[in-house]
């Protein structure tokens, strides 16, 4: 389902972290949201999954304003995968995934047939079926993140929001989680730190810079040398992967040759 972000302004303090953001996410695609630290990636995503109310603007999922729907109704349509975290409370993988059905359950909270099917499907789609009876704490980071993705899928969402889903994952599982999401055919947006990962794994890339969208489109069109220099203070080129032809981003630090022109905004843009 299409997500249209229209003029969204939001922040935790009086100074908004994102201002007047317009962004359209095409149905069924995975969009990578990239930007230097403090560019507002997380803030923008939190307005989508209703943690932070925007001070201006609208977020339309299909025809519905996400901030005008009841809270539970949003939870039925928007699934969230955050950074890897689990407290001292140890669920089995299957119990954790079943919690994804919470917004769909009646007042007594019993799982019906549809719910159990949704849980089984989600475990299947993420390749977690064999983990069902295992305790979350006993899983590896990659397995745990797949289980949490399964929890979001069990919501049967029309939009997936992934807030730095690849933190704490080794490279292999970073590719794995994002490829898995892209293959689902659900509209998805993922805040990512790695530009190469964004170029390689996402259908589209949106660049956030100083709280505004500095570019949105196919990876090769958006991650231009000029934009990389301006936003990330990096030299870089998008090249086709020699094996599978998907876009790769090669980056290197900005060279400051004697007499070379200083890149604009270099002081503010701290690459992570």
């Amino acid at each position: 389902m299409r997500l249209r972000i229209r003029g969204v302004t939001a922040g935790w303090t009086a100074v908004p972290a994102v201002e007047g953001v317009d962004l359209d996410l095409a149905p069924g695609t995975l969009t990578a949201l990239v930007g230097p630290n403090g560019s507002g990636k997380s803030t923008l995503l939190k307005t989508v999954y209703r943690v932070l109310r925007p001070t201006a603007g609208r977020l339309l999922l299909g025809e519905d304003d996400l901030w005008r729907l009841p809270h539970r109704e949003v939870a039925r349509r928007v699934g969230v995968l955050g950074q890897d975290q689990h407290g001292g409370f140890d669920f089995t993988a299957e119990e954790a995934v079943a919690l994804g059905r919470s917004p769909h359950l009646g007042p007594l909270g019993r799982l019906g047939r549809t719910d159990r099917e949704a849980v089984a499907e989600a475990l299947e789609a993420t390749g977690c079926a064999h983990l069902a009876g295992r305790r979350i704490a006993a899983l590896s980071g990659g397995e745990r993140q797949r289980v949490l993705l399964a929890r979001a899928l069990a919501q049967r969402p029309r939009l997936l929001v992934l807030d730095e889903p690849t933190n704490h994952l080794d490279p292999r599982h970073q590719f794995e989680v994002l490829d898995l999401v892209r293959g689902l055919g659900i509209t998805a947006v993922a805040a990512l730190h790695s530009l190469d990962l964004a170029a390689y794994c996402a259908d589209g890339v949106a660049v956030l810079h100083r709280g505004g969208i500095a570019g949105h489109g196919a990876p090769a069109e958006v991650l231009t040398a000029e934009r990389l220099r301006e936003v990330f203070a990096l030299e870089g080129d998008v090249v086709p992967d020699p094996v599978d032809g998907r876009p790769r981003l090669l980056t290197r630090p900005l060279r400051t040759r004697p007499g070379a022109r200083r890149a604009p905004h270099r002081e503010e843009a701290r690459p992570s």
Partner: protein
């Protein structure tokens, strides 16, 4: 934070990351109905045996016959039955029933509090709720306030005290929007000490003849004052509140943290307030009839989770049964260990609970692991 170990094993590969303290990744395969039935039977058996234990020993067969006679409405049967009947029905049975409801109530309150603050080293006692309840109760018994609301005065005052203590501890430990686990425990202990002192002061100032007994009762708990009316009221309240906690079913989402809970359709602030109120009500109900009995709410939820995992639909009833079991036996020990003198029951639960508390503290990452 748990970073994936470098070279983490491939999914589905035989190599697995080392398990946590629990050993295997899977749960022990005792079917749930079997576990419930087993615990319920064990509790019923314990109750019958405990009723028979005391200065006058009464065999389980006699106990069962007396209970059957009483419950069927036949009344005391046969000549000479009067004495045993009196001991069983008037003295010990209400005490055991009260032990069952107090133990279950404390254990369920423990599960709820741990979920609310997302900290497995918390319980109503550690967080000062029990002390607040005792201070509230004493504040009305030692003043003219006791006639205010009739029979519910004491539990109501205890509830208000628990609620106030909990809110106070929460306010002290919350800074800049984050709840520090370490600060929460420290604040709870400090507030608990302060309120315990307040309770002692209020009792001693009232200059009643049995002031020292009363201080012991409020600070370390006892079931010696058990009566049928108190025991049954307490049982009904604990049952209703446990049912309410189970029906609300939000503890599973609360322990995930605010953002995850919100993403799954829960309003975490409201759910936390409701759950916390339930915990304060449970604590107030229990403390009003039994004083402050520590560590039940800390130890029992851990044991329940070891048996059936963190899923609260299972952990709550299992904790209730285990808490009841623990208290029935602790009370039996309390009234027989130094007979004819009675030990405050809190001494026994502390003897079990403190080593456990220390072990849990050492295992948890309290220093580094602050909850958001």
């Amino acid at each position: 934070m748990t970073a994936a170990a470098p070279g983490a094993p491939a999914s589905g590969a035989p190599a697995r990351p080392p398990d946590g303290p629990g050993g295997t990744g899977r749960r022990p395969a005792v079917p749930l109905p079997v576990l419930f039935a087993g615990l319920a039977l064990l509790l019923a058996g314990s109750a019958v045996v405990a009723v028979g234990v005391g200065p006058v020993g009464i065999g389980p067969g006699t106990v069962l016959r007396i209970l059957a006679d009483r419950l069927s409405g036949a009344g005391p049967a046969g000549p000479g039955a009067g004495y045993a009947d009196y001991i069983v029905w008037e003295l010990r049975a209400p005490r055991v029933v009260q032990g069952v409801s107090v133990g279950a109530g404390l254990a369920v309150a423990g599960v709820v509090v741990q979920a609310v603050v997302r900290n497995p080293v918390a319980d109503p006692h550690v967080l000062g709720l029990s002390s607040g309840a005792a201070a509230g109760a004493v504040a009305v018994t030692t003043t003219a306030g006791s006639a205010l609301l009739g029979a519910v005065t004491l539990p109501a005052a205890a509830f208000a005290g628990a609620l106030a203590a909990g809110i106070g501890v929460h306010a002290v430990s919350r800074t800049a929007g984050t709840l520090s686990r370490t600060r929460l425990i420290l604040a709870g202990i400090a507030v608990g000490q302060l309120l315990g002192g307040t309770t002692s002061f209020l009792v001693l100032r009232a200059e009643s003849a049995d002031a020292q007994q009363q201080v012991l009762f409020w600070l370390l708990g006892s079931l010696a004052g058990a009566r049928w009316d108190l025991a049954l009221t307490c049982a009904a309240a604990v049952t209703a509140l446990t049912a309410a906690v189970l029906a609300a079913g939000r503890l599973n989402l609360l322990v995930l943290g605010d953002e995850a809970a919100s993403a799954l359709g829960l309003d975490p602030g409201r759910a936390r307030a409701a759950a916390f109120t339930a915990a304060a009500l449970l604590t107030g109900t229990v403390v009003a009839v039994s004083g402050t009995i520590g560590f039940v709410g800390l130890v029992v939820p851990h044991l329940a989770r070891l048996l059936v995992g963190a899923e609260h639909r299972r952990a709550v009833p299992v904790a209730a049964l285990l808490g009841a079991l623990l208290l029935v036996w602790a009370d039996t020990a309390a009234r027989t260990a130094l007979a004819p003198a009675e030990l405050p029951i809190g001494i026994l639960t502390a003897a079990v609970g403190v080593p456990f508390f220390v072990a849990a503290l050492r295992r948890s990452n309290l220093v580094g692991g602050d909850a958001p």
